[in-house]
Amino acid sequence: PPNPGQAQEQYVPCLIYRTGPFAPGGSGVGGGWEDYMELINMKGGVNGIKYKYEECETAYDTARGVECYERVKPKNPAYIHPMSTGITYALLDRSVRDKIPLVFMGYGRADASDGQVFPWAFTFPTNYWSQNTAKIKFIAQQMGGMDKLKGLKIANLHIDIPYGQETRPLLEKMSKMYGFEVRHFPVPWPGIDQKAQWMDIVRRYNADWVINRNWGVSCTVPLREAARLGFPRDRIVGVWWCGSEEDVLPAGPAAKGYYSANFNGVGQDFPVIQEIIEKVYGAGKGNLSITRVGTVFYNRGVVTGIAMDEAIRTAHKKFGVKPVTGEEMRWALENLNITEERIKEIGAEGLMPPIKTSWKDHEGGGWVRFQQWDGQKWVPVGAWVAPMREFVREEVEKSAAKYAKEKGITPRTSEALK
């Protein structure tokens, strides 16, 4: 029973990176997430329980990420966001052993969407594979229908690390399905120079569309190179980590027209964002500079905050109002249902897609939204796009099964954990 004399707190560790080449991503997402928790706290907490959030700087370094995890573990966090693909890999095993759910929204491994093999890992609201199917759909839309994909030349320009390579097989499969041609152009890290790739894409391969799957500075370079070679920017569509203001601003006018995927809305025109500005920043408790509120990464952080907050509420409903444990949180994450109505209630309509998870499906929808840079700001293009659910699911399960075999895991067959 809650002790009325003592204020109860929900401890939330934030593994974050505020310096280094990817700092805009880490600080942006982290800042938005923390601001949302701050907002909830100012409104009295989640059902009266306040968040106690604490940062641990990982510098995007795997070793330090693991150390952060171990450091915060004794404080019984209900969940962990590793915030980096490398750290995610390192924590997968530990999270199972320690019974702490691992949530990686929009990064990490896509096949972890399969709850049968990854009971403790969550990828909602979408994963990279869903994103890519949505991208193909989006390209088709721009071209005027799925049949127009036939004969199209798509260049998959990707940073040459596992994160970048991950979607190659999927694209190849789809190219067979829809009759388009795909060629991969690996960009060695850090991707400052992509002249060769672009010469090839534009001059020799004559690509119709380019997928920009990079990270950090390598997201920006393609826009410049495309401009120099006269390749239309509205024929480039980026991954959601290449679709922030920080990615396009340095490219100046060269970025105008560029598309990117996203799984959250942009701008300040959402009631919840307005509320944050008013209450949190009004009270001087913001975790970022106010100029970044409403940016892509920031809003992604807010969406993170909302989703996690909703999960805690779900747990409260089942287990009672108290600080949630990892195991309770896991149940809640598996039974998450953030409906359109609820989203509207929160004041986040258009900011995030609905999410509905199950014990099998840890992705919970996979909706993707596209946006275009108009030179000043990101403008949403069209409605939320549904991924090719079945296709992705099939791939996810295949890949997860392989993982299970490698690790000696027996996939579960019901909601219950053995």
Binding site: A59, A90, P162, K407
Partner: protein
């Protein structure tokens, strides 16, 4: 006088050539080993075991390997993390896919890495100094490329090799304490082996090459074999360390954990710790792996005063500043500082 050498007469060269000729050192080592094997496992928290001690020990082992190459043989390498990566991938593949016993997998990872290291050591036969250092970056980039492009290694789309649950002789290694023991029982023998190597004929040959290779060769030391051997032994240690850290810390072999920054960190370890010193590798390993953590925890004390993004920058500033500071205090590394301290104790109360 607390620490003394005089008064301890060595009856024969055998005693003088023992691994720790001074009794107090010998006792010191025994006490440290006792603490490491007996006291620590029963008193340290999981956090300390798994995220302070394990990385500290393993990175020190890797640093020791690099120290053979750079500190003893004088061949500067800034691509050493890649060798750790080779060890990590190979030993995990051996263990996971081919069901080779764990310790043998580690050994196998080390041996394959040693072979790779020997190949990348070939340029050292012609190239020297910073030219060689920069060339070793080739190892970093090429190995990184091969590991991610060769599907047999990376095992498909995620570029990652996962481990099944670990066991040694049928014992599951699943708690931090057991992992710690695993690490310790690899690190300690390898360290002793390394210490013996460097104080023997091979170590002397390496140091001779480091100090003046022309003269060494004229004296009859084959640069070819000794340099390649330095690369081989050094990458063997790196490979074992890579496998070990992956088994006990990262859980999955992922190239991002062995990026170029890690190479710089390894180099930092031996320079700060002490070039050409086994002990220094451990000091340096501790300094570089633990300092950021301590700074981070220390900086948190200011969490209320400073904005968080400034805090992260403050960490960098402190880290960089402390590296410079320690280099100024003792450019020959912490191990030298330690020795000077001991000397002072030994001679105390007569400082000169």
């Amino acid at each position: 006088m607390i620490y003394r050498e005089c008064g301890v007469f060595k009856a024969n060269y055998r005693a003088d050539m023992a691994i720790f000729p001074i009794p107090l050192d010998r006792w010191g080592v025994i006490i440290i080993l006792f603490i490491a094997f007996v006291v620590v496992p029963f008193s340290a928290s999981d956090y300390w075991l798994s995220s302070i001690l394990i990385p500290f020990l393993v990175f020190s082992l890797a640093a020791l390997g690099l120290n053979f190459l750079t500190g003893y043989a004088g061949q500067l390498s800034i691509g050493h993390a890649a060798f750790m990566a080779v060890g990590a991938y190979i030993s995990l593949i051996l263990y996971g896919r081919y069901e080779v016993p764990l310790l043998l997998s580690l050994l196998g990872g080390g041996l394959v890495t040693a072979a790779v290291g020997a190949v990348f050591g070939i340029p050292s036969l012609r190239i020297k100094g910073f030219y060689l250092a920069v060339s070793t970056l080739a190892a970093q980039f090429i190995i990184q490329w091969v590991l991610t492009h060769w599907e047999w290694i990376s095992g498909g789309v995620f570029g990652t090799v996962d481990t099944p649950p670990m066991q040694v002789f049928g014992w599951p290694i699943d708690t931090p304490v057991k992992k710690y023991y695993l690490v310790l029982s690899v690190v300690v023998p390898l360290t002793i082996f390394g210490k013996n190597i460097v104080r023997g004929q091979l170590g002397r040959a390496w140091m001779a090459i480091r100090d003046m290779d022309v003269a060494a060769e004229i004296i009859g030391i084959s640069l070819f074999w000794n340099k390649l051997l330095a690369f081989t032994v050094s990458s063997f240690y790196a490979g074992v360390a890579g496998g070990l850290i992956t088994f006990t810390y990262y859980g999955a072999a992922n190239i991002e954990a062995f990026n170029i920054m890690v190479s710089f960190h390894l180099l930092g370890m031996i320079i700060i710790g002490g070039m050409g010193s086994v002990l220094g590798s451990f000091f340096g390993g501790g300094f570089i792996t633990l300092l950021p953590i301590f700074i981070n925890q220390f900086a948190h004390a200011f969490g209320t005063v400073l904005k968080t993004d400034l805090l992260a920058c403050l960490e960098l500033i402190l880290f960089g500043g402390l590296i410079i500071f320690f280099l100024i205090v003792e450019p020959y590394g912490l191990a030298r500082l330690w020795r000077t301290g001991k000397d002072k104790l030994r001679l105390w109360p007569f400082p000169y």
